[in-house]
């Protein structure tokens, strides 16, 4: 599998942002076994990157690689939904696309 590239957009050190960072680290460790790259972008410090990424809300996690591009909004506390939303796991009918 190609190395995955994730970008996590957060706003400062809000509780949700902190949880999102912790959760994505956990997901990557448990599910991806190191085969990933994670970039954390604080939109307050680097707003141009948020604009470039067309980010509408934070925290938002995007999967840049491998395509297709996908994104998940929220603190990523529901791992299953995150994995499906990022196409890391096959889609099932019980999971809503807007996860």
């Amino acid at each position: 599998m190609n190395k995955m590239l994730f970008k996590l957009y957060v706003t400062g050190k809000t509780p949700k942002s902190e949880r999102a960072i912790a959760n994505i680290n956990r997901i990557c460790k448990e599910e991806l076994h190191g085969d990933y790259e994670l970039v954390i972008i604080d939109v307050l410090e680097q707003p141009e990157l948020a604009e470039e990424g067309r980010i509408l809300a934070t925290p938002t996690l995007t999967k840049e690689l491998p395509p297709p591009l996908s994104r998940v909004i929220g603190d990523l506390s529901d791992m299953k939904k995150v994995l499906v939303g990022l196409d890391i796991q096959p889609y099932t009918s019980t999971i809503n696309k807007e996860v």
Binding site: K16, A50, T60, R71, S93
Partner: protein
Amino acid sequence: MAKADSREIESEITHTADRILIVDDEEIVHLTLKRLLEHEGYAIDSAYGGKEVLQKLDASYDLLILDIRMPDMDGIEVLREIRKMELDTEVLILTGYATMESATEALNYGARGYIMKPIEKVPEFRNKVGEAVRVARLARINKQFYDAIVSGKADSLLIDGKVYQVPVLREENIEMFQRLMEVIHDAVIFLDFDGNITFANVNFARMVGEAYHKLLGARFESYVVEEDQDKVIEGFTRLSSGQIAVSIPVQLKTNFGSSLSVIISASPIHYEMEYRGIVMVISDVTEINTVRRKVELLANLVENAQYDMIFIVEPDGQIMECNSLARSSLSYSQSKMLSLNIRALFKFRVDVEWEKIMDSVEQFSHWQGELMAISKGGTEFPVEITFSKPGREVGHSANMICFARDITERKRAAETESEARAMTEKVEQLERELSSLEQISHGSATTVTARSFGLKSFRQISPDSFNQLVLQYGDLVELALEQRAYRVEHDISGKLRTIAEQLRFYNAGPRDVIEIHSLALRSKTNEVSHVKAQAYIEEGRTMVLELMGYLAICYRTYSYDSQHNVK
């Protein structure tokens, strides 16, 4: 954030190619459409009947291309079932000329459009599909956005390069709002800008006795009585013109055959600076109005009571309210009265102290008695006063109500009656006195002294002279009264001496004197007032004694002269 091409954003938001489900019982349709659509980059799935599509369809599909005529379930039936699933999936109907009517009906069930079979105009087909998918995607984005905000998944929004903090709306807050809609006593209604009901909580349905599903889409004014409809329309017009709130009392029509008095509190809804509709809270004030009318009636009765001064006082006596008779009787203005303690308005005695009154009120819930009221000018007048307190069952109010009635006239009447009774008793006593004197003068059993001057009375011997003396004596009583009242000198004693000498001449005795006295008084007291009668009798009492004395002197002098031959 720079305004990017919306398609660019939309395609980036989706995490897979847009998914389309084709439903048709003909394989050739699937093959044709699949070829066309996969070339556009869409992910295509297939279903061959209504039942299959209902099993397969979920929120992952952006678009459903649905044949209107299928062997197991027709397209309309499928559409009805899909609507119950509350998906954002858009629907395009596949139809031929023969099934145009059904296709048109499908639009009523939310289908976005229809595609004619066989597909001859491919660009048009592509555009329709593209538009439908775009709408579905936008709806999903909006929902995503909304969910992110409402569900609390996002804590910030990035709009045009600015970061906006999102208020935290936790799940439980939403549940609370929903619960509030259920338990709130008032009706809550949303109207669109046309005045149609788009949301109503169950209370409005209960208020008007209408099935809930009939409310949605109905015009709100249809639930208002005719005479109030213009008021409602005018209020809504003001809201749409910029007024931020209106409050309208109206009568609602109900299916119970009655009307309901309500107050409508309405505000406009704006979205992106455009007027979108109205939110209303409707409060049933029927009972409040009934209570208000009752309170107004009671207040009017109290305020205009004609015989009782009425006060509402706090436990320490501070006046909270009073009626107009209290103000006018005591000569205080309303504001002045409310600054006073009720103890300042009445005179309390040692045996009727404020503390004793309050003890009685505390123990028996009331006290009644008589006090002197004191007006602003210092005028005192007697009042019959009652302090009472409502029972515990009325509430926790410790305030008292005080009734005070001016009893000046009553007391005056009682005194007059008492005086009249006393006068009557005195007159009766004097009457009895006169009667006994008459008995003495007419009685056959006489004392030695009484008969010492002859067997026949003066009246029998010389009735004319007797009567003359009765008249004289009566006139003398009159003069004696005048002398006392006006302090004029009429020489009553001298005139009595003269009468005494005349009586001696006729050998009259004490019995004759009494007879003269009683007859004269009987005549004088006839048809005069009690007061005058009493005056005559009292004056006569003195005179008769004086006359008796002069008569005795006359006889003593006559006897001495006779013995000593004095000429």
